[in-house]
Symmetry: C2
Subunit: 196 residues, 2 copies
Amino acid sequence: MAAGRRAGDPDTRGEIIAAARREFAEKGFDRTSLRGVARAAGVDAALVHHYFDGKNGLFLACIQVDFRVDQALARALRVPRDQVGSALIGFVVSVWDDPDRRSPLLALLRSVTTNAEVAAMMREGVVGTLLSQVLDAVQVPAGRRPETASLLMPQVVGLIMSRYVLRVEPLASMSAEEVADLMGPVAQFCLTRHDA
Amino acid sequence: MAAGRRAGDPDTRGEIIAAARREFAEKGFDRTSLRGVARAAGVDAALVHHYFDGKNGLFLACIQVDFRVDQALARALRVPRDQVGSALIGFVVSVWDDPDRRSPLLALLRSVTTNAEVAAMMREGVVGTLLSQVLDAVQVPAGRRPETASLLMPQVVGLIMSRYVLRVEPLASMSAEEVADLMGPVAQFCLTRHDA
C-alpha cells in the first residue's frame, strides 16, 4: 500500500474520489482505469476495489458524494402531479450545475458518443432507474410507459447537451429556476399528453 | 498532383468527399485535416482547397451531397402552421436516418463534447441558421425568439442523442413517421406555447 495510507484512514475514500474525478474528467470514462486512479491517489489498487464495486461503482461515487441520485430524485418528485415536469427539470439542473458533479458526468457524456457500452450503461441507468421514478410520480399507465420514456429522454439529454455542452443562450445563462420555468411545462406535456 | 488526378476530373470531387467521410467518421471532426483527406483521396491538398472552402466547407459537403440542408429544410417546412413541429422532427430524422449523412454528423457530435470551437460552430449553424427558419415558419414574435430557440434546441439535440447515440427504445426502432407522430406535438408545443 503506497504512501502509508490504510483502509481505515478516514480521508482515503475521499482522496480516491477526488483522484477519480480528475482522471474521469481528463481521460473520459472508458480510458480511466481503477489502477490509474489508485496510482493518482497514491494508494494500492486493492484499496480502490475495497471501497468501490468496480469502475461503475467508483463513477457513481464521484457524482453522488453526499447524496444518492435515486433518493434525491425521489425527494424532488414529492410535488403535486402537475408539477412533476418542473421538478424533474429542476433536479437535472441542480445536479449538473454543481461543478464537482458536472465534471465526471461530462466525461461520461463524452464516452457515450464513442462507446456503445457506456451508452448502454447510461440508457439503462437513466431510463431504467431514474425516468422510471418520474413515470411513477405521474402514474403513467403501463401501456404508455415505453413511449413516454422515449419522449422524456430527449428532454433530459437535450437540456444537458444544450445548456452544458453547446451552451445555447439564453438557456446556458439562466438560473436553475428559470430553466425549470421554461422547460418544466414541456416535460409536463410529455408526461401527461395522454391524460383523458 | 498525386495519382494523375486533375481538377477537371468529374469524379475527383466525389472521391474527396468519400475520403473525407471516412476520415471524419474515424478520427472525429477536430482530428481530421485537409491534408489527411487529400492523402486518403490520392490528390494534392491544393485540390481539396480548390473544391472546398476549408474544413467547415468540406464537412458541409459531406452531409449535403445531393442537397443543401437549408433549402431542404425550407421545403420541409412548407406545411400548415400547426404541422411545423412534426415537419421539423421528420426532417431531422430524414437527414440522420441516411447512413451516408449520419456518419460524418456523428463525428461532429463526438467532437462537440470535447471541443468548444466545434460546439460553437454547431450552435451557430443550428440555432443561427436552421432553427431560425423554423421560428420564421410559425412567426414567433421577435421578443420570444431566443427563448423559443432555447426550448427547441433540446428537442432536436435530445432526439438525435436518444435515437442514434443512446438508442433508447422504442424511439430507436420507430419509423421516421412514428417519430414525427410522437415528438412532433412536443416540438409544436414548444413553438406555439405563447400563442394567445
